[in-house]
């Protein structure tokens, strides 16, 4: 049981990360990762939609005939996106204005319908919810990492505009790490997003390759063990 949750977290956060491995939802990922605040805002919104839609899809999976499952998924996802959009409009108005069209566009994030189809429609609700949570966290983490890279290189700050998401107190979170006479525009403009994402994917692949190499070098030691006490 617990090992299943372990696999789900590992898949969502790393092995099958929606942004770095499945390469889904790139449109919002590339468009709003200009600052950490925007990235975090969209990451949280996507996470909420993913968890909500996964749980709902899983709960109704036994009533929905196979032929109409896709339209039902679309209705479910669109509903959650609208709910999140209205809530953000009401409670985080500044961020809502900053993210603009990308909140309704969460509906087109293929990671969400992908999880509904591939996982939630075949598993019970708490597993589906957990899968949504982990996939959402994985997506949000990549968004924030990319946002931090671009914000730092582009304008030399971190957490610029955090008060839009977290309220007035958060304006003190802003740190100016580097002073530029002239901002490095390429990081802030769309090409910077592509280049940044490229580096993140390359970094992940490099880490994975190194891990594989280590495993390949060490098998002899393992084989010497006579008895396996625990099969995982």
């Amino acid at each position: 049981m617990s090992s299943e949750f372990h696999t789900l977290s590992k898949d969502g956060l790393w092995e099958n990360n929606p942004a770095l491995v499945q390469l889904l939802g790139l449109c919002p990922l590339l468009a709003v990762s200009g600052t950490i605040t925007n990235a975090l805002g969209l990451g949280i919104a996507t996470l909420l939609v993913l968890v909500g839609s996964n749980i709902t899809v899983s709960l109704v999976r036994n009533f929905v005939p196979n032929e109409i499952r896709i339209p039902v998924f679309v209705i479910v996802i669109a509903t959650f996106v609208t709910l999140v959009e209205l809530t953000m409009n009401a409670f985080t108005y500044g961020l809502y204005m900053a993210l603009g069209i990308f909140i309704p566009l969460i509906v087109t994030n293929c990671a969400i319908i992908g999880r509904a189809e591939a996982y939630a429609s075949k598993n019970n609700w708490y597993k589906a919810g957990f899968d949504g949570l982990m996939m959402g966290l994985g997506f949000a983490a990549v968004l924030v990492a990319l946002g931090a890279m671009r914000e730092l290189i582009g304008q030399g700050t971190l957490f610029d505009g955090a008060e839009l998401l977290l309220g007035e107190w958060a304006s003190s979170l802003r740190v100016q790490l580097i002073e530029f006479d002239y901002p490095l525009l390429i990081a802030i403009l769309p090409p910077g997003a592509f280049i940044g994402l490229g580096f993140l994917i390359a970094g992940k692949n490099w880490l994975d390759a190194r891990k594989r190499e280590k495993l390949a070098k060490a098998p002899v030691e393992k084989a010497q063990r006579a008895r396996v006490t625990h099969v995982s």
Binding site: G34, V60, F63, V64, P65, E67, I68, P71, V72, I75, V76, A78, T79, T82, L83, L86, T87, N89, A90, F91, Y93, M97, G154, Q155, Y182, P183, L185, I188, L189
Partner: protein, 223 residues
């Protein structure tokens, strides 16, 4: 076959109804709060341009919708009137610069009865971060350079960026944005001062169900 289709249609319909009711309920619950947010956002800007001591009317409510697409950049724009003891003393005009570097720049400009600019604030824009976004007061105080200026004639040549021999600074690496904003502010200010009496007398109709857009008599602008 037919029975199956009926069943599927029924299920799909049920989902649609459930989803719609959920959205309607949320919309109902958040509508007031959303309006409140928009209102307070606008009021903050209005109060920055027209200080509280200058008016005793409700700026937000004393608003008229004006159709002057040429001068204000959009089919209809709200104009807020400031009055003290029944005396009209300033106008806050919402206008749009349509020739920015990337999309429309929406702004608010306040002028007093003498046609002097009290202040300009950019409400919404999508100019390049780091270059064109210096039109925001948060990023640079460039926008304060409008304060106290007047428009002397319809095509007042001083109202341009320095590169075009005007009196406003452009930004390093971004001339299009300030040029667009300077031109749009000039047009809005000229429109406001030429029509100020009519604008002060126009009905407050911004929040009516079906506002009848005031078609005020535009003063003939002679060369």
């Amino acid at each position: 076959m037919l029975k199956n289709m009926q069943k599927n249609g029924f299920i799909l319909g049920a989902f649609a109804i459930a989803a719609t009711s959920l959205v309607v309920a949320t919309q109902y619950l958040t509508a007031d709060r959303i309006e409140e947010q928009q209102r307070s956002e606008l009021l903050r800007t209005l109060n920055a341009l027209i200080p509280a001591a200058q008016h005793d009317n409700d700026l937000y409510a004393d608003c008229t919708l004006i159709a002057a697409p040429e001068a204000l950049g959009a089919p209809q724009q709200p104009i807020y009137r400031s009055r003290l003891d029944g005396q009209s003393n300033a106008l806050a005009i919402r206008a749009t610069a349509t020739d920015g570097y990337s999309g429309n720049i929406h702004f608010l400009v306040a002028i007093n009865v003498n046609g002097q600019v009290q202040g300009v604030r950019v409400l919404q824009h999508r100019e390049t971060p780091g270059l064109g976004d210096k039109i925001e007061l948060k990023k640079s105080d460039w926008v304060l350079s409008f304060d106290g200026e007047r428009v002397r004639s319809e095509n007042d040549s001083r109202w341009a960026v320095r590169r075009d021999n005007g009196m406003f600074d452009q930004f390093t690496g971004a001339t299009i944005t300030p040029r667009a904003l300077v031109n749009a502010v000039r047009k809005a200010v000229w429109y406001g001062q030429e029509n100020s009496q009519a604008l002060f007398n126009a009905p407050a109709n911004c929040y009516a169900e079906n506002p009848e857009i005031a078609a005020i008599d535009v003063v003939e602008q002679t060369e």
